[in-house]
């Protein structure tokens, strides 16, 4: 557990240092407007990355998240185009859709016992494909301005969008569950050794199933936000976002093999990646070249600790040898 906290702290320190340095050197970094755009970018990624982190902690993965987001966007757009004009009803329907899509993943993984990597690559294609079936290459964009404006409205007196409060609430709820309840400890146990935790009385399959449902529902929520933020429902919304979400989860210190990591680190990693991207954009670094930074960070985040562990082991072995 100690390593996990050190990692969280490391990401936060990196974030603070970067903002401090970039704030001095890059015009506009750290301004209220800057944070507004960073947070707008953080919201959908965090909504997905937080539940996804729990999935990864149990040793599974869900690559279909961005496709769930895209399908939700198109269904939302189509329902609106058909005349469903009650916002609460639309949101509930979208969340149910996301939960159902997540449940499909969950059934394939837990009931049929198929590897989640393969299953969710399949549903990644399937859900994105269904999004194209729903809307084709059309876009639905004529939402009431109150909806689109409210989605990105700021907290009164601040420039920060209110939706971040939803993210914080989700983070707190999931964080408490993960770090302070038997359910959370069960998730780590499953990730460390699924068989042993089954013998210890943890219902492994049921837990994983509900995590997939949760991830689906949250991806759908991110889809609703996405639709209203860009005032556009298109089948290709957020294509490729799954890799960004996975990158954030891993950079946040969650082990891809499961059993290790925490939500503070994941949230900090999401913010760090969004801050980096926005700051470098202000510094006129072409947006696409920024992928080098994302990729290098991701690699460094796993290579660093691994090499450190290996070096420590080697040192310990040598000491043991000299001692005898």
């Amino acid at each position: 557990m100690r390593r996990s906290y050190a990692w969280d702290l490391g990401i936060i320190v990196a974030l603070v240092l970067f903002v401090a340095v970039a704030g001095q050197t890059i015009e506009g970094v750290g301004s209220p407007r800057f944070w507004r755009f960073v947070i707008l970018e953080v919201i959908p990624v965090a909504l997905i990355a937080l539940p996804l982190a729990l999935v990864v902690i149990t040793g599974e993965i869900d690559l279909s998240v961005a496709s769930v987001l895209g399908l939700t966007c198109t269904v939302l757009g189509q329902l609106w185009a058909w005349g469903v004009s009650s916002l609460p009803l639309l949101i509930v329907l979208c969340l149910l859709l996301g939960a159902a899509l997540g449940a499909v993943n969950g059934v394939f993984v837990t009931v049929f016992g198929l590897p989640s990597l393969a299953v969710t690559i399949g549903t990644l294609a399937l859900y994105r494909g269904l999004a194209y079936v729903v809307l084709g290459d059309r876009a639905v964009a004529n939402y009431p301005t109150t909806w689109t404006r409210n989605a990105i409205a700021a907290i009164p007196g601040l420039t920060i969008p209110w939706m971040i409060l939803v993210v914080v609430a989700v983070a707190v709820i999931l964080g408490v569950i993960l770090h302070a309840t038997p359910i959370g400890r069960g998730l780590y146990a499953i990730g460390n050794n699924a068989e042993a935790s089954a013998f210890a009385g943890i219902s492994v399959a049921r837990t994983k199933f509900w995590l997939f449902v949760l991830t689906g529902a949250m991806s759908a929520l991110a889809g609703v936000f996405w639709t209203f933020r860009f005032a556009s429902a298109r089948a290709d919304n957020a294509t490729g976002l799954e890799l960004a979400a996975v990158a954030a989860v891993l950079l946040g210190g969650v082990s891809i093999f499961g059993g290790r990591g925490g939500l503070v680190g994941v949230l900090a990693a999401v913010v760090l990646l969004a801050t980096l991207r926005n700051a470098l954009q202000l510094a006129d670094v072409p947006a696409n070249a920024l992928t080098i930074v994302t990729g290098s960070l991701l690699i460094a985040s796993v290579v660093g600790p691994n090499v450190a562990t290996q070096a420590r082991d080697a040192l310990r072995r040598r000491r043991a040898r000299t001692a005898t």
């Binding site: 394939f108 198929l114 990597l117 399949g122 494909g129 891993l250 696409n288 070249a289 080098i292």
Partner: protein
């Protein structure tokens, strides 16, 4: 005593026969699915089997099939290479730039450079995975971004046009011998070599052993790290090769060549019956998977299905393929258990007899 010595061997052969039959069934299955799709489509519209249409189909599947071949080798070792699309893009743009800056470059030199560049990218992946012992999924997700970013930085605002390429190179991308595109022949050569290597070479067999159980492979003295490194170099080299073919086929190149193709490649491999957790499958299956995915894309419009259904069909196919594998695997496991159990039962009395005789 001789009977005693033969029995376990007998069991092993019978086990092997069952296992082999499984692979034949698996590849036959996907071949049949492909055939069925082609026959139905041809019945609906006979022009689907016109020479030009078949040529387009082969040309379309070539690049995916080569990528799938490399990916299958990696997946068999229980790893995955998500960076292939970015390596393809990098190599394609490098070849284009080479022809712009040195217009007289002979084609084989360009080919060799693309392959070498891909192999170098693969070596970066392999080194990080084998030496730093980092999970392949994470490393290649990282290099997916890094290689693509290098490509973008290099290509900002630039574009290589078909006019910059030597005519012979572009002709290679479209020419056909006896109705079969040259590019497809390249893919077949790659495929046959890879298939033979995996089947007949000791190091090829070791890749399967590593994928089945890395720890046991290590205890058996297999140089696991070196083999995995090699698998990534091959996958990178093939992605680089595919990049050269991409340049020859499309002529116009920017930094987006091959973007988002990595999951398609993994899909082709999985549909082709290579288990995502390693140890089983073949490159032939993976290549068939690539052809099947491409054919679906070509067949749907002919069948009057909206092309928007294509991706959904691919997704459903992946789920069906892994589900089918699961069922077949369970069957094979049962058969092997039955055979194994019977032989133990047969051997046990013999052994007692043998012991008494001794």
């Amino acid at each position: 005593m001789t009977a005693l010595a033969e029995r376990p061997g007998d069991t092993r052969t019978r086990g092997r026969v069952v296992a082999q039959r499984f692979f034949v069934v698996r590849e036959l299955g996907i071949g049949l699915a492909l055939l069925l799709l082609i026959v139905i489509t041809a019945l609906v519209n006979p022009r689907f089997l016109a020479a030009q249409s078949i040529k387009d189909l082969l040309l379309g599947s070539t690049i995916l099939a080569i990528l799938a071949t490399g990916q299958a080798i990696v997946v068999i070792t229980r790893n995955v290479d998500l960076s292939v699309g970015s390596v393809l893009g990098l190599s394609a743009f490098a070849v284009g730039t080479l022809f712009v800056s040195a217009p007289g470059t002979p084609i084989p030199v360009a080919l060799a450079m693309g392959v070498a560049l891909g192999a170098a990218c693969g070596a970066v992946n392999g080194l990080l995975i084998a030496a730093a012992r980092v999970p392949a999924l994470v490393v290649t997700l990282g290099t997916l971004y890094v290689f693509r970013g290098i490509d973008y930085t290099w290509a900002t605002g630039k574009q290589v046009n078909a006019a910059d390429m030597p005519a012979g190179f572009l002709r290679m991308g479209t020419k056909a011998v006896l109705g079969v595109p040259v590019l497809a022949l390249f893919a077949v050569v790659v495929l046959v070599f890879a298939g033979y290597y995996l089947r007949a070479f000791r190091s090829g067999r070791e890749l399967y052993a590593i994928g089945s159980e890395p720890a046991a492979a290590r205890l058996n003295g297999i140089p696991v790290g070196r083999r995995i490194f090699g698998a990534f170099v091959v996958s990178g080299a093939l992605a680089g090769f595919a990049g050269v073919l991409y340049a020859a086929r499309f002529g116009t190149l920017d930094a987006n060549a091959g973007i988002n193709s990595e999951l398609n490649v993994v899909a082709a491999v999985v549909v082709g019956g290579v288990a995502i957790f390693g140890g089983s499958g073949s490159v032939y299956g993976a290549a068939l998977g690539a052809v099947l995915l491409t054919t679906i894309g070509a067949a749907l419009p002919v069948l009057g299905v909206s092309p928007f259904w294509q991706r959904a069909a691919v997704g459903a196919l992946i789920l069906a393929a892994i589900g089918l594998d699961r069922i077949l695997m369970a069957r094979v496991g049962e058969r092997l258990r039955v055979i194994g159990g019977r032989s133990v039962a047969e051997n046990a009395p013999n052994q007692r007899k043998g012991a008494r005789r001794a």
